[in-house]
Subunit: 315 residues, 2 copies
């Protein structure tokens, strides 16, 4: 595990695994015009209960790191370092090694140092065999490159970076709806098992967003579709007086959502509040730049007619 | 709660409560020679179970913030900002407001911004009515002022900044030993109730350490006495070939420890591994500077004769 953590260390890491606070050299910040540190802390929620049912612990850490990367990426920040906290009623070294190994894998892919971590054994606080996994990410953006949605205008178009599945939201409902099915058998409708579909790793959008910037796309807003779905997350970045329409049928919905929708009696609007439905990260750009990104699906547009998000088209 | 959080904001905080990642302006880092970011993540452990038994939630947040402040202070870092995560089986708004209010209080006192936070409701992961409280602190130190213990020499003296009680360690044992006693009645031996003694707020040593620096004390090492006690924590900063002697009887032991010791059949050495026993933060300075700090107790010295920590004197 120590080797996995050390494999995430770049030249900025001054401390060693297991010492006190993690040390991250910040002299490079002096080369930036107005460096702004961007910080976010989050957990993976009850996706841990899926990992527990399947006894597969190598993906949860990747989920958490990628979730956190996306959460600061929406403000234009690049990740610098990550810290983790893993707690349960009784710590299992193999389980922790798998979880932290997943974190190290995702950190390494993002060029982000896994700078520190803590474990806690708390019998009587956690239920037997349950675990919580929490992480904090620190990134940086030059203030002039902060993305905050203020430049969004009516007529802007909404592109989708697809999700791989539930990511880290909607697991309470999904587990309830799917509880009595076989989670390990291959299914034709999914292309894999329910377990594999549920544990599909939360996608990091760091590379695609870097690529958009590299080709000169003016990103006016980014919405990471997490708890609350597109219904709650997209309005958070819209300026006063603007709303968005999402055109149903313009992107591929991962089949796990179709399966859940078929089994549960949930209205479409509610479905789009609980799940991301295949919308991983929404990218808002001016319409004249559409030709720069032919590979991305346009899934909607910014409008003045109403506030909030309207779902349009085939239900 | 929003007002409490905002009260911790200094001029560097660019984001608003409840937006995405917290934004912390870092241009001031450019005035430092070699800025090093120092990060630490921790929880308060089962001190939450004491808070639950007494239904008092205003101190736990202070404990966590001060614990984290001390954890990076040992490397010489000043706190910049803090993020929190509060999770339980069922979130109680009043409980969370009290916990976060405590965090804001401690952050404000330290000039540290409470930059972000997350709550999670996870039934089936947490036991009913149980809560976990986790925090991450980010601080900064100029690399030339990093404290890492390398300058420690034989003959250096060990001073104590007193603890207020258990701080955030040893609660599993303390709760077991004290379980059947009345926690709310005033006790002559303690000067207050067992509940008050157990919930005594984890002391922040930021101000005393700033004062030592202000009068020109050369701090060669700092040891925050947490889980593992003086036995495990002090050796972490000692250079190869050096050990420490701690002279029992040279400082006041908070009476809650005396009560626990009287009820439990625990060897002295083990007692000093589970509890801080009144040793909050140990400060190692060269002997010729003793006169600069007449108000602090000398509790031990650095020696070459052995490695690790030896307890000497009356048991």
């Amino acid at each position: 595990m120590k080797a996995a953590v050390q494999s995430t260390y770049g030249p900025h890491v001054l401390s060693d695994v297991g010492t006190f606070g993690g040390l991250f050299a910040g002299s490079f910040l002096k080369t930036m015009d107005k460096p702004v540190l961007v910080a976010s802390m989050d957990g993976v929620g009850t996706k841990t209960k899926v990992a527990a049912r399947l006894n597969r612990w190598d993906t949860i850490g990747q989920d958490l790191v990628n979730h956190c990367i996306n959460d600061i990426l929406v403000q234009g920040a690049e990740p610098l370092f990550f810290l983790d906290y893993v707690a349960s009623s009784q710590l299992d070294p193999a389980q922790i090694a798998a979880i932290v190994g997943g974190m190290a894998l995702a950190c390494r892919a993002a060029g982000c140092a896994l700078l520190g971590g803590e474990t806690a054994e708390m019998p009587g606080v956690y239920e037997p065999n349950e675990v919580d996994v929490v992480g904090t990410i620190i990134g940086v953006v030059d203030q002039d490159h902060l993305i905050d949605g203020r430049q969004i205008q009516a007529g802007d178009i909404i592109l989708n970076l697809p999700s791989t599945g539930l990511h880290t939201n909607g697991f309470s409902l999904a587990r309830r709806v799917l509880a009595d099915l076989d989670w390990t058998a291959w299914r034709e409708d999914l292309g894999y098992s329910i377990g594999d579909a549920l544990l599909a790793v939360h996608e990091s959008y760091l590379t695609p967003i870097r690529q958009l910037r590299a080709v000169g796309v003016e990103i006016r807003g980014l919405a990471h579709i997490t708890g609350g779905g597109v219904i709650d997350n997209l309005p958070r970045i819209l300026p006063e007086g603007l709303g968005a329409t999402i055109q149903l049928g313009t992107w591929s919905i991962p089949p796990i959502f179709t399966l859940i929708q078929g089994l549960a009696d949930i209205a479409t609007h509610e479905l789009y509040r609980v799940f991301n439905m295949g919308l991983g990260m929404l990218v808002i750009i001016p319409p004249h730049q559409r030709s720069l990104v032919p590979h991305l699906n346009q899934v909607g547009a910014i409008v003045t007619a109403h506030s909030g998000v309207q779902l349009e088209g085939p239900k």
